[in-house]
Symmetry: C2
Subunit: 314 residues, 2 copies
């Protein structure tokens, strides 16, 4: 039977699984620490693939997911965070050559979007906008049943769309990106700034303060914490309004840890989105919903990528 191997190379864990095409559940799976900053990454990747290699079956394709930036056309990693060994590294070609199997690479957000489109909240939709709101903001865009990748394989970096040219610095070093307003660290930075300006809050200035702490304070009624999430939701609405004007999808799917807080973020998001969409028709029949696949999105996306690129089942 035709099998496919998928690997999701995360910041802390490297997860691998093998699949037959008829089932969503893997036939084998394994996870090991990524240890990004330690040498030997290629050996670890090789071993975890061997560990899930299906007994007696041929493997038709291998799909790999990793944080970007990366070139999905050539399969090169460009500059993965905390991993000097893999700068400008031919990841997919190396795996293809080691195993003699066609191997494809794309970034984690694109693959989570592809997975939600194929197996999750986006099933049945042809134009899908997936947005993950977490430490960063990433996106995956499906247009007419095809994954948007772009000329350099760098499309759909929607966390780095500029929503205010004079806005705060983003993790990437540039200013005013959606990520610099609505990601977890952006929410924390806003709270710290307000505390420095003398705002009253049960939150204290603390190096380890994170977006979850702010959410907990908000749930206890802390006005500053509530405002921090409202502001993030408002900018998220501004960004998504622009994305509707650009892509006109039939569904917007939210994943990522920060989006788990629910109404705290999304009440102001919905108000802002409605205020900013410039023609009501964009909202007709538009579904706005949560991701369904959770931690499996990365693996299932890498699997879907391999199936799609190898011409299987798409």
């Amino acid at each position: 039977m035709t099998t496919i191997i998928a690997v999701d190379i995360g910041g802390t864990q490297m997860r691998a699984a093998s699949y037959t095409q008829d089932r969503l559940q893997p036939i084998k799976q394994k996870k090991i620490p990524t240890l990004a900053s330690e040498p030997g990454g290629m050996d670890r990747l090789t071993r975890v693939i061997e560990d899930v290699w299906p007994n007696g079956n041929s493997v038709a394709a291998i799909g790999l997911g990793s944080p970007g930036p990366l070139d999905s056309h050539t399969g090169y990693l460009l500059a993965p965070p905390n991993n000097p060994e893999w700068h400008n590294f031919p990841l997919a070609p190396s795996v293809a050559s080691r195993f003699g199997v066609r191997t494809y690479l794309d970034n984690d957000a694109n693959l989570a979007g592809l997975a939600e489109y194929r197996f999750g909240a986006g099933k049945g939709h042809h134009n899908v906008l997936y947005i993950t709101v977490s430490t960063g903001i990433g996106a995956g865009v499906i247009i007419d049943d095809r994954l948007l990748q772009g000329y350099h394989g760098l499309a759909a970096e929607l966390g780095h769309v500029i929503v205010d040219p004079d806005g705060p610095p983003c993790s990437c070093g540039f200013n005013g990106h959606l990520e610099s307003f609505s990601s977890g660290p952006a929410i924390v930075r806003y709270v710290l700034g307000e505390l420095d300006s003398g705002a009253r809050s049960i939150l204290k200035r603390d190096e380890s303060l994170n977006a979850r702490d702010v959410a907990e304070a908000a749930q206890q009624g802390d006005a500053l914490a509530i405002k921090a999430y409202q502001r993030a939701g408002e900018y998220l609405g501004i960004g998504v309004a622009s994305f509707l004007h650009a892509f006109d999808p039939s569904i917007v799917i939210f994943g990522g840890g920060v989006s788990q807080v629910g109404d705290l973020l999304f009440d102001s998001f919905h108000v802002s989105l409605k205020q900013r969409v410039f023609h009501p028709r964009y909202l007709e029949g538009l579904v706005i919903t949560k991701a369904q696949l959770g931690d499996n999105a990365g693996l299932l996306g890498a699997r879907a990528l391999a199936e799609m690129k190898a011409g299987l089942a798409f």
Copy 2:
């Protein structure tokens, strides 16, 4: 021989042409006044199509272009400016039914982009971003050789992407869109605002002041006029940086009257774009150029749409 009819319904003129597939030049063409605000638009459209109907040949498909907003999937005009008769009007279905020929509709900017991709500056590229800077700002986006239309047929409205949430009002009534910073009227509005604030200039506060007057003053060295175009170019660079992050094209093509001023707009555009693109790889091999088809882009785009949708030659 298979022929195609194209109609470009502009604000002032309605242009029609018939084409054989082997040639870029029309076999017949005709133009008449649009007279958008006067009744009888459907009669005028019918007549101009009859005028270019090829003798003795069958017509395989008809393509129509019009200002938006419109629904390219159903062929309905939604709310064309100054034309109450055609609000929520089934334009393509009416033409299809009148002539018994498959008829397709899309907006003028999408079609100009499609024409440049197929016959003009974008030939040979697979991922094209076309932007027209004129009274408004419109766009046409080609992704992997397909025209981006979206779920409601309303995609690629890039003039209405929000570049500053607190920015000036756009022609559509919403605030801070790219069009409200970099279109012809936005340049004029900036000059008028600065004159009201006491700025010195050879330009005078005048109801009839237009972007061409400002360009002429700039060419004479007027500091305010130069600054008005520089500011428009700077925001255009901010917008296009975001569009690269979103679409990652291999070519950006500029059309429209305002873009004809050249360096006056594009010097600051290029500086701003380079400052704002968050990874240098987006610019590797990226072509930034002028549209080639001029006034024929609308007709050739309507022709390309008909060919594409009818499954001819794409």
